[in-house]
């Protein structure tokens, strides 16, 4: 398979370090990335910053492929980073994958 864009992957930890239906943060300078683990062990990476008023999404409740922001209950899709329902906004996403138990975060 051809990989078109060059992608750097950084190992950030083991999936077992993240609770199911929970998240943990990776700090990159000023920015924080939240790595979510779903009930069926998929991982997603979003900037830890709600499009509404910058609430820390990593602290929200994870359910059915979404996270509910802890500050004012916006619901953000983990798949697309998009706000659900009537709210409008999108969170920056990062590539993330598993190799065995190791979580690899994609960096450009």
């Amino acid at each position: 398979m051809n990989v078109i864009a060059m992608q750097d992957w950084a190992a950030v930890g083991s999936i077992t370090d993240i609770p199911r239906q929970g998240a943990r943060c990776v700090k990159m300078g000023e920015m924080t990335v939240a790595i979510f683990r779903t009930a069926d062990d998929h991982v997603h990476a979003l900037e830890d910053k709600c499009p509404h008023r910058s609430g820390p999404l990593s602290q929200g409740i994870v359910h059915d492929g979404c996270v509910t922001c802890p500050l004012h209950n916006w619901v953000i899709s983990l798949e697309t980073g998009e706000a659900q329902g009537a709210d409008e906004g999108r969170v920056r996403q990062f590539p993330v994958k598993l190799e065995g138990d190791t979580v690899l975060l994609g960096l450009r």
Partner: protein, 817 residues
Amino acid sequence: MTKQRLVVVGNGMAPGRMLEHLFESNPDAYDVTIFNAEPRVNYNRLMLSPVLSGEKTYEDIITHDEDWYATNRVTLHKSARISEIDRTAKTVTSESGITAAYDKLVIATGSNPFIIPLPGKDLDGVLTYRDLDDVDKMLVAAENGGRAVVIGGGLLGLEAAAGLKMQGMDVTVLHLMPTLMERQLDPAAGYLLEAEFKRRGIDVRTKANSHEILDDGTGKVAGIKLDDGSVIDASIIVMAVGIRPSGDLAKIAGLDVNRGILVGDDMRTSDPDVFALGECVEHGGMCYGLVAPLYEMAKVIADNLLEGTAEYKGSVTATKLKVTGVDLYSAGDFAEADDREEIVLRDASSGVYKRLVLKDNKIIGAVLYGETSDGPWFFDMLKKGTDIAEMRETLIFGQAYQGGAPLDPTAAVAALPDDAEICGCNGICKGTIVNAITSKGLTGLDGVRAHTKASASCGTCTGLVEQLLASTLGDAYNPAAVQPMCGCTELGHGDVRRLIKAKELKTIPEVMQQLEWTTSQGCAKCRPALNYYLVSDWPDEYADDYQSRFINERVHANIQKDGTYSVVPRMWGGMTSSKELRAIADVVDKFDIPAVKCTGGQRIDMLGIKKEDLPAVWADLGKAGFVSGQAYAKGLRTVKTCVGTDWCRFGTQDSTGLGIKLEKFMWGSWTPAKLKLAVSGCPRNCAEATCKDIGIICVDSGYEIHFAGAAGLDIKGTEVLGTVRTEEDALVYVVALSQMYREQGYYLERIYKWAKRIGLDEIRRQIMDDAEKRNAYFDRFVFSQKFAQVDPWSERVSGKDKHEFNPLATLPQEAAE
């Protein structure tokens, strides 16, 4: 053939009902025109008191909305008072100059509140209680606070007084007679009622004769002077001393009018084309002031308008007082006389008083106070003249005790005969309701209201109707169907709680599976609720689902708008010491905490702490003996106290000590919504106990326990649960009450909402009167505390949930670019 013209004067409850009957039988017989002096559509006047108290809004009590008039092609002239009837020309004319011709006329002008001709009766601020405008005026007055004086301790006066009190006014009721509601109640029940009103902080003065209403110098009410010379300052005076049938219009038109407009059994006045209906009527020497008889009249007129032959034969009435938390029922004649016997039941501890008056083995009068569920049963026998000789011994204990074992309420209602009256206002029998449920396939209260009118007027029979639904539909009746818990299920909170217990469901996935959740993992609404129900129901078996908790309860601190946290340690009962304050000061300095604040809950909040620092902050606080204040929890929050006997010259008991005991006993417990307590050392109430979820007011003789107050999104004074003598009892009763709430409350339902749903009396019965229940609740609370009373901070200091507080990884800056 051209349609006949029907004109109705007055758009009150009686003609509204008459038109419904008329349209049901023949919607095309008449062109209908209504004139109403009020500027609005038809509404349920009985429900004005709930609007006054804030329990309902005007929109909730509309009977016929604009659509109804349009659909039935009725012309309604609002704000149009009829000033003239010309019976020769067969027309009516309004003050505003609208004239309408009639073939048949119905006069339904209701009645006018009686105004005592006191000096000052015309001052600004003297009000009556009859229609929505009066309620609006009272609400405006209530906004400015001050005292309201209600003249008249009858049904209307007391409802007004209770409503004004709930709106935050100080209230005095002046009543001329020695006991309240003397026309409906005997003196014993009157005294109980008076005691209840006083307990609610309403000043009741009987044998009080008003002398003069005082002017503040600008034409507004300043107060009232009584015959005995005493003066009461007041910003409004509400006169509720009785009503006079409004017959002037008919009299001027030359119709026969005595006290009310005279009608025969066919409800025609002295002019055969003119009917009179409602409170303005006098029939067989009687004028009525309750809706049940008026509805019977309405039916008779509807029939006679369609060439029928129906006749009205007079009515026996029963009265209920609609003040939330007061149960009172009276019917018939209860004066003492030689040929009468009486049966009396008193239960002083629960404030129950029941009295039946018998003559020749028949019930002729009934007064029930405190427990009124048997009212309709007694009333039914009273109306039918049932011979009660056989059940004399047990009669007073009510229907449930007849035939041996007590029946549960649903079975008792199921056992009623088909012709037993369920809804007194509308005269609806059990058979009619059951028939409507089965033939129309009704599944809920709304359906029954729409098809039979039962429970649609004063609403006090709602419980009976629900029991009929339950007994008729069996398991198919699902009263909670109204409000599903969230989008993931059809079930309401009540059902979910019930099913968790019944099916012994012990994990969230199990609940979702067994109760057929429509999402795989629930949502942010249902998961915290389920987690709470499971924690509360299976304290020893269920493992708290951490991921189903809101962030604050997960990290045991309050998230702030910038993603930092605030930390509030417990200060038991609001007491602290130099050592504690020094430890807090040290922590603030060490961690560079940007803000320190005294909370509204008598303790100290440190705000702006970085998440990573939380465990270290807690470690230092823990060393000084602090535990988490749970300022974030749907659980026990604060117990506010005042200084009490320790220092205060008025203190009657050790309020600080009791507050600390309660907080130490109850901390750590999870509850449906947050739970805040307070203990005040005397009725001056410096700890503000009367707006808390649970409050205690210490008095010389013991401890007055209050509950169901609110001071957040809603404001509501507490209700009294009861008074106990010792501190130990106070603790047991408060804990038992909390456990009852823990077991029955819906998630996020504060105690005042729960109490409203369950009924104050039911709660008083279980906690104050039923020692066995009370002790069982207490024991279950104590059991659950074994698992709950663990300081979450020290747990985390020793390493629990370590992952929460540190980043997974920290990558070099360049990685992000």
